[in-house]
């Protein structure tokens, strides 16, 4: 026996090593136990270096872009300004949406539930398994990350957290062959399962009689207990009949393979599937002018903004209450000391102030008050002036 082992020493060692690893692997599968200590050691050894390399790369590229690629700065600046304007428009759009009565209920519901809390993270490295789509992010359980949390971007879904370490976490991307996501179509609310195992992402489990059209949006349905309902997933590229089920191919909107920054959903809140078009499209539409409210004309003074505006508004109100027309003939002087809204008193000129609309006893002089004349046309110097058709004062009796 010893001679045999000595003769086939290499093969014996190979068998021992392979069988040992097989047993270890079987033990892990059987007990469904993650060998956390080994992974923590490896991740703790590798990720700091990767983080340093990423920081160097980021700063180096930033330096190069700042100092050597200034040619594109103006274009980038212009583009950023354009994007900024667009985002501000979207922001206004969303504020208006929230302020409407239609969204008041949604807001109440949103406030009643715990709002979605997210934490931003940066992707610092890939997994070592090429066929398994996974990345590492620079947030760990010290940042509140837990296993099973959803990872998204504003554009769409990215993946879920499968392992958490002190300073980093591992995210399995939705493009991984073993990843499934519950999705729901926007129009027909058709439920399906997103799977990206064969390269292109498809929505499985859709019956032939269900109606799904190309270009239609799919959102997360929340049934997988990972992603909250209502996150955008992607648009339908093609719909073809399959064997009992439809073959629906999807174009992911989140682009999980190339993301740099992601959001980890700490506390997810389910949202309804949007009925209208996607936000970006809606924001780009040229909205019609807002309808005028009854009794609202363009001559109405604008809301006061400054102290000067307030003074002007106060004097206008005083003039209105005392039937004084600024610039009008024989209008007298208004009592500027009177508070707006109070009963007019004797004006400094000695006469009674013109009656207000609330004082019927003094309504007679109101008729004698000069009617606000229409603005006179400006005539050139020397041109003949027409005689006034009405006398400024009533004729003596």
């Amino acid at each position: 026996m010893e001679a045999l082992l000595s003769r086939y020493r290499n093969l014996t060692v190979l068998l021992v090593v392979v069988v040992g690893q097989l047993l270890y692997l079987a033990y892990q599968v059987k007990t469904a136990r993650d060998e956390r200590l080994i992974r923590v050691w490896a991740v703790s050894a590798v990720t700091p270096m990767a983080g340093v390399v990423e920081a160097i790369r980021h700063n180096t590229i930033g330096f190069l872009e700042d100092y050597f690629i200034l040619l594109d700065v103006r274009d980038q600046n212009r583009k950023l300004k354009s994007d900024n304007d667009k985002l501000r428009m979207e922001n206004v759009y969303f504020r208006n949406q929230l302020s409407t009565a239609e969204h008041a209920r949604a807001l109440t519901l949103f406030q009643a539930q715990s709002p979605s809390k997210t934490v931003a993270a940066r992707v610092i490295g890939n997994s070592t398994v090429a066929s398994a789509k996974a990345v590492f992010i620079d947030r760990g359980y010290t940042s509140g990350i837990e296993k099973g949390m959803a990872v998204v971007t504003p554009d769409g879904i990215v993946g879920k957290v499968v392992a958490v370490y002190p300073l980093v976490a591992q995210v399995l991307l939705v493009t991984d062959a073993t990843f499934k996501v519950g999705v729901e179509s926007q129009k027909g609310h058709v439920h399906g399962v997103l799977a990206c195992g064969t390269g292109a992402c498809t929505v499985e489990q859709i019956q032939e009689e269900e109606k799904v059209t190309p270009g239609e949006w799919f959102f997360t349905s929340g049934e997988d207990r990972i992603f909250p309902k209502g996150f955008p997933v992607g648009t339908v590229i093609s719909v073809q009949p399959g064997q009992g089920m439809k073959d629906v191919k999807l174009n992911l909107s989140g682009g999980p393979g190339g993301v740099e920054e992601v959001l980890v959903v700490l506390q997810g809140v389910h949202q309804p599937i949007p009925i209208g078009p996607v936000v970006e499209d809606a924001a780009m539409k040229a909205l019609p002018p807002p309808p005028g409210e009854p009794g609202n004309d363009s001559k109405q003074p604008k809301a006061t903004q400054t102290e000067a505006d307030k003074v002007v508004q106060k004097y206008q109100q005083i003039g209105k209450e005392q039937n004084h027309v600024y610039g009008g003939l024989a209008s007298g002087l208004p009592n500027f000391n009177a508070k707006p809204g109070a009963t007019p008193t004797t004006n400094p000129a000695g006469g009674t102030a013109p009656a207000t609309a609330t004082n019927p006893k003094t309504s007679e002089p109101k008729a004698a008050a000069p009617v606000p004349a229409a603005p006179k046309p400006v005539l050139p110097l020397g041109a003949p002036r027409p005689k006034p058709s009405e006398p400024a004062a009533p004729p003596p009796q």
Partner: protein, 191 residues
């Protein structure tokens, strides 16, 4: 002083720094290779096909015609890779695959002149295909995971890795990392 000792004294100054600190250098290079696989696709997305740990395992197997050392090195590299794999994959998948790769590379190196670039090219291509297929087979058979394997893509990636192996191996040859001295100088180092 024997002739062998004289030979060693004459030989040592010509060895590189890596030659004297082979174990530390190997660990360092393995770490670099794994970090490269971990991080390089983030830096250059088109390098996702590059299997630096595999190329290092093959190189070590080819230059060290000791199957035991080669398979142990393969197991070390594979297990290190496994520890950075997704948490839903148990540790040991790459370990087993690279153990076999190291063993076969060391076995093959006895039969061929592995300093020939053409042979290196073919062997690297073959070992990449073997590595990819065996890993896929293990995931399918042992874990029951239906992971797709694209033959065309695998062949292309194999060719790319084989092409990348040539300059890499030339650099490693310069380092004399494997301790692959001539046959007569190898014996005094305990081989």
């Amino acid at each position: 002083m024997t002739g062998t000792t004289d030979h060693i004294r004459r030989r040592r100054p010509r060895e590189s720094w890596f030659g004297r600190f082979q174990v530390a250098a190997l660990v360092l290079l393995t770490l670099i290779a794994i970090i490269g696989k971990f991080y390089l696709p983030r830096l250059i997305p088109s390098t996702v096909w590059l299997e630096l740990p595999l190329l290092l395992t093959v190189y070590f197997g080819l230059k060290r015609p000791s199957p035991i050392l080669a398979l142990l090195f393969g197991a070390f590299v594979g297990l290190a890779e496994d520890s950075l794999s997704p948490a839903n994959l148990p540790i040991g998948m790459y370990g087993i695959t690279k153990t076999l790769v190291g063993y076969f590379a060391a076995t093959v190196s006895v039969k061929f002149n592995v300093d020939n670039s053409g042979i290196r090219l073919v062997l690297c291509f073959f070992f990449y295909i073997f590595h990819a297929f065996f890993y896929w087979l293990m995931r399918r058979a042992l874990l029951g995971q239906l992971v797709p394997l694209d033959p065309q893509e695998t062949l292309i990636h194999g060719a790319f890795n084989a092409a990348a192996a040539l300059p890499l191996y030339m650099i490693l040859d310069r380092m004399k990392l494997s301790g692959d001295l001539t046959a007569e100088t190898a014996r005094p180092y305990g081989r």
